[in-house]
Amino acid sequence: MLFNSLHFLFFLPVVVALYYLLPHKFRWVLIFFASCYFYMAFVPKYILILFLIILIDYFSALAIEAAKGRNRLYWLVASLLSNIVLLSFFKYFNFLNLNLQQVFLFFGKEFHPLNLDIILPIGLSFHTFQSMSYTIEVYRGKQRAERHLGYFANYVLFFPQMVAGPIERYDSLGNELKKEITPVYKNFSDGFRLILFGLFVKMAIADNIAPIVNEVYHDPLKYSSSQVLAAVLFFSFQIYADFYGYSTIALGCARLLGITIMDNFKTPYLSRSISEFWSRWHISLSTWFRDYLYIPLGGNRVKLPRWSFNILIVFMVSGLWHGASWTFVIWGALHGLMLLLERYFSLIFKFEIKKQWSVLNILLTIKTFVLTSFIWIFFRAESFSNAGDVFTAIFGGNTISNYENSFYVPVVFIVILMLSDLVLYNSRFDNKLSEYRTPYRWMVYTILLFCLLAFSGTQKFAFIYFQF
């Protein structure tokens, strides 16, 4: 079920009402069935994969806790392997075969791979990563294994964040799901504020930009340099508004149920460096990779060459996590490379970014935005040749314009998005709004409501991150 659907706008109030009507001990049952229903609205049979992940990790965690010595590690490896095999089968099987075919071709041999007609279950990468974090934490002794299968299932299935995160840890979401919650006015007001703002960001901003980006990326060579450049910059805002909007709605839905989940975004386009960008963009994934890959590889307590290698590995794996294509790997690698260059630069020139805002910081922010925008080309392009066409179109100097639709509406909304980021710098919409007096708050509600109802995109686009 999509958050931006009439179906969901009926589903959510019913779940919230039942949630507060039921006694605490039965609420997990409601959340479980509501989450299953939510997920099954996409492709019903794929819920079985989720059940399998839940069962594997539930029993693995119990086994890890009960085992001693190296057996703990064996159970952990078995659990992680099971998750990775499942993920690989659905996400990387065809990609792997395609690459094997290319390798065989290179050596002049023929290889006819089995091409499975598989649709990637929505949000599989999110579920597996979330579930894996739990067994790792149990192995590390930082988390006790959950005895209640229902609560553990809800940790993996919790509908507000099940298909596109944030990727939660058991010590936060697991405990939140167990809390006995009474209806509190602030939860409702914060929840509605976040949902309203999230829907506005997704439907009015991202969905108004999407048609332009889709059209230009479909055949970039048809458009003038400035139009392709505009589409490249627009995509930066589209993917931000799309994912930020989704995450904000997820926060709002959870808040209506009295449950707190983590912030996934903190005004990332106001970052002054790539490393700062990654502390503000998709925070739950960045911290996952930090805790479960970067630090185990040695983190920053190793020599510079090894550290550089670690950074590249982490970013390339992160790219591959996003999609089974080399364009994603290059996208990740370029981010890693930029981060390394920043580090070398600061080491050589003893340069440190100061916290207070200055002209230099503004220029650094623009630099970071431009860099990330160009790197997004590999993320958005369907292939290397498509990415090549985008670069050719930008730098080819084509002045013939083939795009007839107006950029006016998307540009207005992008300006609103950036202004809201400036206002919300190091804050969040619901908290910031609480600082305002009632008339100003209602003025904001009215504007958002009007933009959402009257100017949302007229084509519906699924959230981009659902495909991961």
């Binding site: 931006n4 659907s5 009439l6 706008l9 209806p183 006015y185 409702f188 439907m203 969905d207 209602w442 509600y445 009215t446 409501l449 009007f450 959402l452 109802l453 009257a454 949302s456 995109g457 007229t458 084509q459 519906k460």
Partner: protein
Amino acid sequence: MIKTISIKIVLLSLILFGLNGIYSAFFLEKDLREKSTEALKIRDTQSKTDVYYFGESSNITYLPGDSIENSISEITNFFFPKIKITNINKYATHGGIYKHWLKEIDLNVNKPKALIITLNLRSFDAAWIHSKLETQLQESLVLTRPYPALFNRFCLSLQAFDNKTEKQREQEMLEDWRTQQLKFPTPFKYKTVSEWDYGMSQGTYLKEDGSWDSDKIVLACHYIKSYAFNLNESNPRIKDFDEIVNWCNLNDMKLYLNLMAENSEYADSLVGKELVFLMAQNRDFLVKRYTKGNCVVVDNLSLVSGKDFIDQNWTTEHYNYKGRMAIAKNLAGHLKDQFKTEYKLAY
């Protein structure tokens, strides 16, 4: 808490009421122009229209090089120079869309003297009912639903209408072809469209060299899929036209259902008399059902000769100027009863 929430709900309702007014006054027309052009055209033309002609591509398609390129409605208007016939056209429309267009006519502004609505036999078949173009047609109706304009606009963004995927529609169409039983007065070896289609595809037509004439087979199969059905009350389009006829009777408006010509000659020569029987039976069903009260069925089914169809390799209701003129003349002949004094022989 209940009191606070109640106050806020009232305040929110007032805000929504105001926003709906602002949207209707300043932004609705732009959206209608983009998504519901036909509804807007009806609203804009009503004050100077005597007769509306609702149609699909059959009205406006002409053969490049035709000596006249006018639509059927325009040619019909030649017979009545003193009245204004306004055509409202959209490709692939059908009864389910026309019935919504009717609601755009504000009877208090200027009640049209008559309505001419295209009755396309193929629009009752499974391929048209489950056409992939249906989603776009349904989208065009969202902004004109009888709800607050701002709510309709939001529904459009949420794609809250009959928004099935092409694949879903195709499956429904195949299901209909597989399950709907064909009825003939005498025993016939094929019971469903699927069976008939399959039978036809098994080498019915051979070339002189003994190979299959696949072009001919494909066309014959297409004729079967277009016309092989028995009309009855359960057909969704029949329900739509029932509503249209009732609306006209209720509002005392003369209604002409203009049954378009089909290429019966080719249906006969390619597929056989069974298919022509079904076409005629369905025509009789429509004529009998709708020739009553204010409604007249203008039967053009066999009026146009096979060679006057523009598309010789597909089933369409696109005619060259001879075909369009023949239909317009037949239609004008029926309109003449109502507009006796305005009638003037055009050709």
